[in-house]
Symmetry: D4
Subunit: 163 residues, 8 copies
């Protein structure tokens, strides 16, 4: 079972980030969910991120809202791929602030950004990355895509039936 680190800056972000954890568990991966703020506890974040690889974590998902420095700060401290989730939260800018803060990283330190509040997609992306190393995730990702296609075809059939 592959380990995926999930980090967010505040306990109020947990319900959204747990959507990612649930998807990972459906695929048989083990999420390690922690709350650690880049702005309030920078040393803690650096410590967690720089030792993540040593603890066996293979991919990191970092969610943050507003100025949203967390994903970039984590990416600076680890050689692992870091997926960033811009959180809308209660920001007046409705997540555009977090999106720009996460996606516009300078050369050399990328963050793999997904949609605003796209925690589930962060997990699917993590699984596709785990698939490089672990055949089970590659196979499950193929199965996931087939199932999506099957469900989409069922919705298509239902829509035809309603005509």
């Amino acid at each position: 079972m592959a380990k995926v680190g999930i980090i967010c800056g505040s306990e109020s972000d947990l319900p959204k980030m747990k959507e990612a954890a649930e998807v990972l568990e459906q695929f048989g991966a083990t999420p390690e969910v922690v709350v650690a703020s880049a702005h309030r506890a920078p040393t803690l974040v650096h410590e967690w991120a720089s030792t993540a690889a040593d603890r066996g974590i293979e991919v990191i998902i970092a969610g943050a809202g507003m100025a949203a420095a967390l994903p970039g700060v984590v990416a600076a401290a680890t050689p692992l791929p870091v997926i960033g989730v811009p959180l809308k939260g209660s920001s007046a800018l409705e997540g555009v602030d977090a999106l720009y803060s996460i996606v516009q990283m300078p050369p050399g330190v990328p963050v793999a950004t997904v949609a605003i509040d796209g925690a589930k997609n962060a997990a699917y992306l993590a699984v596709s990355i785990l698939g490089l190393k672990h055949p089970t995730y590659r196979e499950q990702m193929i199965a996931h895509k087939e199932q999506m296609a099957r469900k989409a075809r069922e919705a298509y059939e239902r829509s035809l039936g309603q005509a």
Copy 2:
């Protein structure tokens, strides 16, 4: 040597996307650069993307401007991780259109989005992903981060010297 697919929709996108290829080559990975438009040659794109894994490609980088459907169309056709690069090109919206078209993917089909015109970062992200499977890329990514830190420290020393 790991293979990374690089795809963009038009030959005018090639100079930007070749920045990604150069970074990959510096890390000893093999880029496969192709031009194939999601809107002009959808069958070709589907064919290329759905067989990428079979050809030994492990990560895909897809660059596109304006409506920028290419990264999502590619992601729909492969279980591989797909990195999207929003291209500014000559769009009146200066790449915001491409950014929104690439990052706001629906649940189940993520695209790992980097900054507008962030082709280099797409390559660094690909290397960090390759690091899951190939120890050489993990080691090189660690070395890359150390080198960045060293260069940053040198710039710091130079700036102190100017004071």
Copy 3:
């Protein structure tokens, strides 16, 4: 009775897209409403779109939210005119993402874009297009505009009466 294809990516989009179907039915056109996701079931979408003309469909209305690739993917696969409806849905970007993803198509593959959540207008536009071939829709469109003008004049009279 002319056939108009209406396609959207998810069953949650149906209530909005059925507004288009209702307008079409008022004009005596036959909507064929289907659910098929460009990202989850790309083959199905391609199949539906590339055979639409053969099934007698004359205009296509495609609604999508967020990254909103569907209208462009459909337009790539058919010589028919394709009308795109950006859907606001629950996107944090409130439909601006879908608008940019649909309207900013590259040269050669246009999508006729209407307002965010403008499904009704997509239907009126389809009727005006059908009017090229079928005199009944041209006549009905003229009558529709006269009726709008009449209702507008009645509202004007009412407003004068309130003064």
Copy 4:
């Protein structure tokens, strides 16, 4: 030979709108290009638009910048399909003003909006609409899509050859 009306508000818009005329001529359609401002000569615009169908025009392309009322004003005066082209021109808002002014039409009076400065796509859209009535444009549109796919495949082959 089908007639397509092309209208814009100022002579400075002509170079951009003539891109549409050229595409139409390549398809053997006859563009009628006129300059008439909705805000400076509203009566003239109304006269031109309300008689367009009688003069044999089958589709109208209207380009405008900034407040960009022209496409909507034309659409209000004709039962023909009206395609709107938001022009960037020298607006400080770089065409976003024109895009919003054209695409956000109220229910009942749609404008088929294309990309900012997307005059060529307006012409391709007009051809696909003409295809409903005139088999030659349908056939040419199919040939156009095949040619785009062929050129895209050639670009693909060239890109493979460079690898």
Copy 5:
């Protein structure tokens, strides 16, 4: 008693525009409130606007949402000053579309634009314009500013008292 024309495109805009009428009545001006849509009843709007001066109207307030052509269309048809009120209504773009459509008028045909949903301010602006000709409105505007200052000072005193 000076007459001020107030026009909006739909009965659903009336509650907001009546805020302007109420302010005008407080100043002893006579509002003439009408509903007439630029896109649904262009002839009616042109007729109303081009005869407004003859009916004794001295200033016009025009409110509109979304593509918001009404204020500009009215301004094109009258030598009177026209004040535009961008209406938020239920637009997904929350009035930014209307703001851009109203304020970005081309040279020669200005619209005096106020804040989104700023119907009250449109009325205050109308009163300040009426003040050029009618001493009573100039005096009342001076009194209004003094009263605002007095109320502001009272709020200031109250806030001091709470400290």
Copy 6:
């Protein structure tokens, strides 16, 4: 000859604001152009604005860039109608900052806002306001609109001739 005050915050704004002065002079109005910064010389601005009516000024045009407080500060100090011109200048936000700062005035203190860099339109608006009191400006505004329509018709004729 009616007097119109024109105020801007910096000498670098003068070339743009003199476009307004030129239009006013064409109509036989007398512009009083001054440079006075709301943020650097608030007392001077207050003094100038609060005595403008006493000096015979009938309308004020205020241009400003970036935070653009000047038009509102002027409007707070005078019962005269104040027209605001958002200046693009060299702002990174390209005049959107100035537009929002000028148009979004609170209830009770309106500023009649024109397009970004729309100094000419500010002058046309001033003339239409002067027309309330001075028949010559009303007549000239009517003539101006007729001339615009005539020139627009000439451009229309020219465009027809080119077909």
Copy 7:
């Protein structure tokens, strides 16, 4: 006990601005909260701001929504540091108007801008500024950061415990 001036334009802004007052009181500073509108009572604002230093105020916090001239007007009238809080209020632009109006100040008259509705952070910033002069605030700010880090670590521990 150091004095911090808190000013906002309307009594409806008070609940938000009192969040700043509460934080200041927790640090043992004395807030002087006043309501005074830059647009409705400019003289009062100028008077209050230009005498603030004389009354012993050391830092000023100014909150405003929409056109949000207040912070800049205050900054123009005092040598004290002025912190600006853009207020979302009920603006259709959701505080972006206020943010741009406050942060984009011209050279020479800065306003220290915090997040939209960031009244609490304005207070923390004020405390860090007071720390220059008063050792107690420096010490308390250090303690505040330690406490934040401690609470962040506790949240981290709790999150670990849930795994």
Copy 8:
């Protein structure tokens, strides 16, 4: 002579940030300018920021572009007031990304944000803050404001002379 730390992430940011240093030197303050990237050399930044107060620095100015984490990361590591300068640089988003990344800080860790590319204003703000403790900066700031007012009055006189 008070010390002000100036930090930016890259040597390409130095020319802009030196504008701040020059202003500080005009006021007799001592800038300590360093280059240190939050994403490439996080440990170095943390070290520099957390020891700044001990080295006698009293205010920090941090400039950054794109994701712009630097000002927040510095603010997290010091009890000193931190002023953030969003840099436009060559970002496709023209500094809006940096503005949102810097100004939208979470509660407890404020950054005093100035205009995009507003390095000079950062220095003026620093001087006003230094004025709390050092009477010389307070006096100089008063003199600076008087000089600005004097220059503004001279520009006003010149503009009057041109009339």
